[in-house]
């Protein structure tokens, strides 16, 4: 079956640039992950990395790892993928391609600016850049440009959807386009927090225009952004699980309606919950922390809805493929197709990530694990596996589509995704256990003087996971480089496998395709959840200048 719509070469190139920046960032950023894991295991390469001028310290490496992986790999990949969804989903070009291009290049300039200071070891403040540790002001400016550039690309999507709706009155927005715009709306609400922090606090303070800032307030704005950030990473993976995976596995989407409802619930519930990252912050009252805990836990509902719909779609696919009995459908899925296998494996580890997330969010259980190795253990299941492995699966069809070449080395791609799964399972399990014993995060544990000997078995397992992941990540980079530049030209264009829904798309209730009520609801929840605490913090500010020396 031929594709119903074809992107122009310029569009393909534009999306391709996004993916290129993303994969390049992953190639550099993921080098340090295994180095950190090796340090834990007692194989410390940082003296050599320092001699070679690759990283001055563990912390410079960790800053690169966090920023390049969690910010750059994700954001650029997501914008590339969503741009594809908009054009292919709506079957029309972007309304203002130049606007989107402008947003993209603004992101690149912001990235280069921030990266310059990190590479110069001037901004080894980690990817959360908590004040009053201070980086030079252009570093923060770089972050602002990165965020504003992404907003502009989002505005480009809104204009395009608006035009499409005008031209197609009464028609339900195709799911992949709807969900892409929803993701950008979530991102817009989320990044407001960090934009306020950067523009009104960090930039003026770091440029010397104001003497001090209130650190608790800065953290509060940061975490207004920090949690929905993780949903900005996740929703594009969900787009793939709902919108592509059912067809890639040989079936249909179980319910288009419920998929949309889940997206709306994520928009409502993922922003007003930042205090679950601040349960141990002194400046936020326990009652508000508890309210945010409840709102956070409510995400259980759209999450379990997603699980239901995705599993039901896969069951249908498995039965179509001849799977029988209670579990036979599962075995019948194409586990040997790297595009499908990557997403199935991503989903399996994500279930454990979800369990861990409930523990994190549960107010007082958080006391045990806040800022311990449990936390990176947790998000290497979510962003670094559920999201990253799914994006890898997407790139296995998207990059060949964009470059017109064949996916090089399908077998290697298959081995790579299984290695990632195994490596992360070992790594993450050990990290979770270390965290429960009290091992701090953001710490070169291999050098810490307080490590009891009982931890050494777990630290070793972190290192073993790191070896497997080192192999997996560079296999992926190699596959991508070949597919983009060297592989055989394909005879025909890659078939785009957008899933059909089992239900009639026009049967989706109108209120699930209307933006206003949901946006009003989301903003209202945000205002309710934050205003009292913000008023309290702002009216009693305790500005702090911080030490004016470089601490790294």
């Amino acid at each position: 079956m031929a594709n119903e719509y074809t992107l122009t070469r310029a569009e393909k190139r534009f999306i391709g640039w996004h993916i290129f920046v993303a994969v390049a960032a992953l190639a550099i950023g993921s080098f340090f992950g295994p180095m950190q894991a090796f340090n834990y295991a007692g194989w410390n390469f940082y003296p050599q990395l320092k001699k070679l001028h690759i990283a001055q310290s563990y912390y410079q490496g960790l800053t690169l790892h966090g920023v390049l992986n969690a910010v750059v790999w994700t954001t650029f990949f997501i914008l590339g993928f969503l741009t594809f969804n908009m054009i292919y989903g709506l079957k029309r070009p972007l309304k203002y391609p130049k606007l989107n291009a402008f947003g993209f290049w603004m992101m690149v300039v912001g990235l280069l600016l921030a990266a310059f200071y990190i590479l110069a070891n001037q901004a080894s403040v980690l990817y959360t850049f908590y004040p009053p540790m201070k980086a030079p002001w252009p570093f923060y400016l770089g972050l602002v440009l990165l965020v504003v550039g992404s907003w502009i690309e989002g505005y480009g999507f809104y204009f395009t959807l608006h035009q499409w709706k005008k031209d197609n009155p009464g028609v339900r927005t195709p799911f992949i386009a709807f969900a892409s715009v929803a993701t950008m709306v979530l991102w817009q609400l989320a990044t407001l927090g960090v934009a306020i922090e950067a523009l009104f606090m960090l930039l003026p303070w770091s440029a010397g225009l104001v003497k001090g800032i209130d650190i608790q307030l800065a953290r509060t704005f940061f975490w207004w952004f920090g949690h929905p950030l993780v949903y900005f990473w996740l929703l594009p993976a969900y787009i793939s699980w709902y919108g592509y995976l059912p067809r890639q596995a040989g079936g249909k989407l179980f319910s288009d309606t419920m998929a949309r409802l889940a997206f709306w619930l994520f928009i409502l519930l993922s922003v007003p919950v930042g205090f679950h990252h601040q349960f141990v912050d002194p400046g936020v009252a326990p009652g508000w922390k508890y309210i945010h805990a409840l709102l956070t836990l409510s995400v259980v509902i759209p999450s379990l809805m997603t699980l239901f719909t995705v599993v039901a779609s896969l069951e249908y696919a498995g039965r179509q493929r001849g799977g029988k009995g209670l579990m036979g459908w599962l075995a019948a899925l194409p586990w040997d197709d790297p595009i499908v296998a990557s997403q199935l494996l991503a989903g399996i580890l994500f279930i454990f990530g979800g369990f861990g997330g409930i523990v994190n969010a549960s107010y007082n259980t958080n006391l045990i694990l806040h800022n311990t190795a449990w936390v990176p253990g947790h998000f290497h299941l979510t962003v670094s596996t559920a999201v990253t492995l799914t994006f890898m699966g997407i790139s296995f069809w998207l990059v060949p589509y964009l470059t017109g070449r064949e996916l090089c080395c399908r077998k290697a791609a298959l081995v790579q995704v299984y290695l990632w799964f195994i490596g992360m399972a070992i790594f993450s399990q050990a990290m979770h256990s270390l965290g429960l014993l009290g091992a701090p995060r953001r710490t070169p544990l291999g050098e810490a003087p307080y490590i009891p000997p009982e931890w050494s078995g777990l630290l070793l397992r972190v290192g073993i996971g790191g070896i497997i992941l080192l192999v997996a990540v560079y296999m992926y980079i190699w596959i991508m480089a070949h597919t983009a530049f060297f592989a055989k030209k394909a005879a025909k264009e890659v078939e785009i496998q957008v899933a059909e829904a089992m239900t009639d798309v026009q049967a989706v209730p109108e209120w699930l395709d209307a933006w206003k009520p949901w946006l009003v609801g989301a903003v209202a929840l945000l205002v309710i959840a934050y205003t009292p605490v913000l008023i309290d913090l702002i009216s009693g500010m305790m500005p702090v200048a911080g030490p004016n020396i470089k601490l790294w």
Binding site: P282, I301, T443
Partner: protein, 166 residues
């Protein structure tokens, strides 16, 4: 206008997830607000550059309120050490910690307990614990605070009540 169609199995599934949510909410609420497994709270705000002029903070450490029963610990986190590094309290006494920072953010976590607070300059966090078992409890800085972060720790010595102060 068409109405929402939900598959009957999915309806059941959603009902279960809502019940699950309600159960979590009640459990953590009871643990927190009735059984007292509580998160840290704010004691006061204080200018971190003026700690040395403050009558209490210029002399951090242990204060005995009720011998054998009630103690306070004033603890300063700074690059890259805790002041004081060693704390001695008797077993079985309620110990309230007041923790603040002299410079940047740090963390204070005591191993094998649920004591954990983000140490924020300008803010004094307050948290309590009763150490029932004598022994050594390490506390560790759990927030990145610069090059010396990995070496930043201290120890709480919990001694049997009859040996305390000897």
């Amino acid at each position: 206008m068409s109405s929402l169609h939900i598959d009957k199995h999915e309806k059941r599934w959603i009902t279960i997830s809502i019940a699950l949510l309600a159960a979590f909410a009640v459990l953590i609420g009871v643990a927190g607000f009735a059984l007292g497994v509580q998160v840290p709270t704010l004691d006061q705000k204080i200018d971190p550059t003026k700690l040395d002029q403050d009558p209490v903070w210029s002399n951090p450490g242990v204060r005995e309120l009720v011998p054998g029963k009630k103690y306070e610990v004033y603890l300063i986190a700074q690059t890259w050490q805790f002041v004081p590094r060693e704390i001695v309290v008797p077993a079985g006494a309620k110990v309230t910690f007041y923790v603040t920072s002299r410079d940047i953010q740090h963390g204070f976590k005591v191993l094998n307990t649920d004591l954990n607070v983000q140490v924020i300059p300008g803010y004094v966090g307050k948290l309590s614990y009763t150490f029932d078992e004598p022994g050594e409890y390490k506390f560790i800085c759990t927030e990145y605070c610069g090059l010396g972060h990995a070496a930043m720790f201290g120890v709480i010595k919990v001694v049997p009540p009859e040996e305390y102060g000897k």
